[in-house]
Symmetry: C2
Subunit: 367 residues, 2 copies
DNA sequence: CTGAAAGCGCTTACAG
DNA sequence: CTGAAAGCGCTTACAG
């Protein structure tokens, strides 16, 4: 009934706990014969080292994790950071130390490489980054793994690199959801316009691909009548007016899919303030406080959220597990939930456990 | 830089760690003067006892938690149990022992009371139940708290009892979401029929209340043209035919809201197999494998899920925290997420972190 | 290759 | 009211 301990196994074999420990963790300095005897008993009793004891005794060697994350848009990355902090709070007692850096610029490889170098000077065991698609970064990641610094990617991925695992959304799927929502809001028949960000980003490309794919495959009654591609930020002050007149001059349509995760509020305002557009159904990504207001108004019908809190939380937890146990996540790509957010399930009451704080290190209540 | 320990504080004051420990945890046998000195330093250094060390030393006194949960419908309660098991796996090393009992009958107070008595014989520190609305149960809960057994309610609540906290859904809100979904699927205009379970249940009543409330307040274009109340199970073999003919004879309508969480598949089948009903939009609660199939077919448009995994997971985590730290959850009612499930975000790939297993005791991958 | 011992940071009988 | 010591279960230098 009582759980088997290291001591029990040592006693039964008449050897010391030290040796049992060495055998179990495949450390050098145990004879093949002894190792086998130990492993047999371990299997027989299904012995698992007690984690609490293990972590306590491991405390002497702190584990350092460096994180470099984005800062914009704040409504999104603040939630990611909240997740990171929650994991930090939990794991501090387990011997983890976190160094968090934020990028000033949006997806700029030079700044990213600089910060990586700053962190490696501080002797880190693991690193979390939001990668950009760059060969210099690829090379850097490979260098790091040479030095056996484990690298995890967060929110976006970089192919053909030696990064250990990815935590983030299923990008294409999130565009497919957008397609399904619009199709169902239109009772399977209608015309839609997409607004595409003019930024090179795997995420945006994949969303759009997913959106088109599902309309083509399953919702043939929905016509994609126009795609407008522009860099909303670059339009500056005039942005709203420009987009407004483009949309108003598009002819009849029923819905707008806004592909990026930053312009949704502005697009919503355009629709709200235009008699002609007022009845268009708007679907987009990520819920900011401003977006919530437009959902209250009924202007934005639904949003797809990629659970930023969990992204931050789990990338740290998983990396820590790897560094402590040598245990890789079960999948190369660990996907976070894609939540469909309506007015009535916008997470607002603070007592929602979307994640929750606890002694024994559960997630902390999200933003 | 280094974290302050009990020893550090003891050294600085020239007293023993034992005394510091006693002062911090408000245990008897410390002079007021000493206690004050200690607490001052604790505040100064913002000292928090190391959890890992604490739990390891606490191991001697195991904490026993009894859980009595439902078994039907299995597709729902299996997920709840998966959450319970995940919490158990995590907390076993922290000194928690779980005794899980399942009820054979659906919400039957006698069986529940029996099981409670069985558990109290085994000396439990905490108890989790799915309550029914009964004065005998109320009395029993009060008895238990007299004996300082902490009781938490799961999935359903019981008012005016001394239960410590509730973990489960926001019932009324989930009916409101159903209303919003149907309204948006119908472009704010149409006729709806509700199917109400003929079972006394706070949950069902509240859902229906929420549904009607939101139609009245916000979606005035949606007409509730009929409410059918019946006990689907009691109809037996003929159930489908009976409901089918009722629905077919109802006159024109556009959508069906199925209020309970068990009949959804059957209702979907009825709609699927009836020419007349085929175009009705179906919205309901909880996603079983069968329901998934009808979502694939496009028969069921969307489901509302109350995150059964988290219900099981967090009720255990929170209760354990209370028993170990004496720390009550921040809210009397801790709500789980209400997820809106579409075909494209049905959680199926196993690498979705809807929760995830980790060393340091994160949630385990849900079902 | 193996053992004995010290240590991780906290808690708790046991003495005084 | 307070201290010294043992213990939770594992890991790791240090000897041999």
């Amino acid at each position: 009934m009582k759980k088997v301990t290291l001591q029990d196994i040592a006693d039964e074999l008449g050897i010391s706990k030290g040796t049992v420990d060495r055998a179990i963790h495949n450390r050098p300095g145990v004879s093949a014969a002894t190792r086998e005897k130990v492993l047999n008993l371990v299997k027989k009793y299904n012995y698992k080292p007690n984690k609490v004891a293990r972590l306590l005794s491991l405390k002497s060697k702190m584990i350092n994790i460096g994180v470099i994350c984005q800062s914009n848009p704040a409504f999104f990355w603040n939630n990611v950071k909240a997740g990171i902090k929650a994991a930090e709070a939990e794991l501090a007692d387990f011997g983890m130390q976190l160094i968090l850096k934020e990028l000033k610029n949006y997806r700029e490889v030079n700044e990213l490489l600089e910060k990586i170098d700053e962190l490696t000077v501080e002797k880190i065991d693991g690193l979390v980054i939001v990668p950009v698609n760059s060969d210099r970064l690829r090379k850097k990641i490979n260098e790091l793994s040479q030095k056996s610094i484990a690298v995890a990617t967060l929110n976006d991925d970089i192919t053909d690199s030696s990064r250990l695992f990815y935590v983030g959304p299923q990008m294409r799927q999130s565009g497919r959801i957008a397609g399904e929502l619009i199709a169902k809001f239109l009772r399977l028949k209608g015309r839609v316009v997409t607004l595409n960000p003019n930024i090179q980003s795997l995420e945006y490309e994949e969303r759009l691909r997913g959106f088109k794919e599902i309309l083509r495959e399953e919702y043939k009654g929905i016509n994609l009548i126009a795609e407008y591609t522009f860099n909303y930020d670059a339009l500056g002050e005039n942005g709203q007016n420009v987009i407004k007149s483009i949309l108003e001059n598009t002819g009849e349509f029923d819905a707008i899919y806004d592909v990026d995760g930053v312009s949704l509020y502005d697009i919503g305002c355009i629709v709200k303030n235009s008699k002609k557009l007022r009845n268009a159904i708007v679907v987009g990504h990520e819920v900011s406080e401003n977006v919530k207001r437009l959902m209250e108004d009924g202007i934005i019908h639904a949003c797809i959220s990629q659970d930023p809190f969990s992204q931050g939380y789990y990338v740290i937890k998983l990396l820590f597990d790897y560094l402590v146990e040598g245990k890789k996540p079960p999948f190369d790509r660990m996907y976070t939930r894609l939540d469909v957010i309506f007015k009535e399930n916008m997470i607002s009451p603070r007592n929602i456990i979307n994640s929750y704080s606890s002694t024994s290190s559960g997630p902390v209540a999200g933003s």
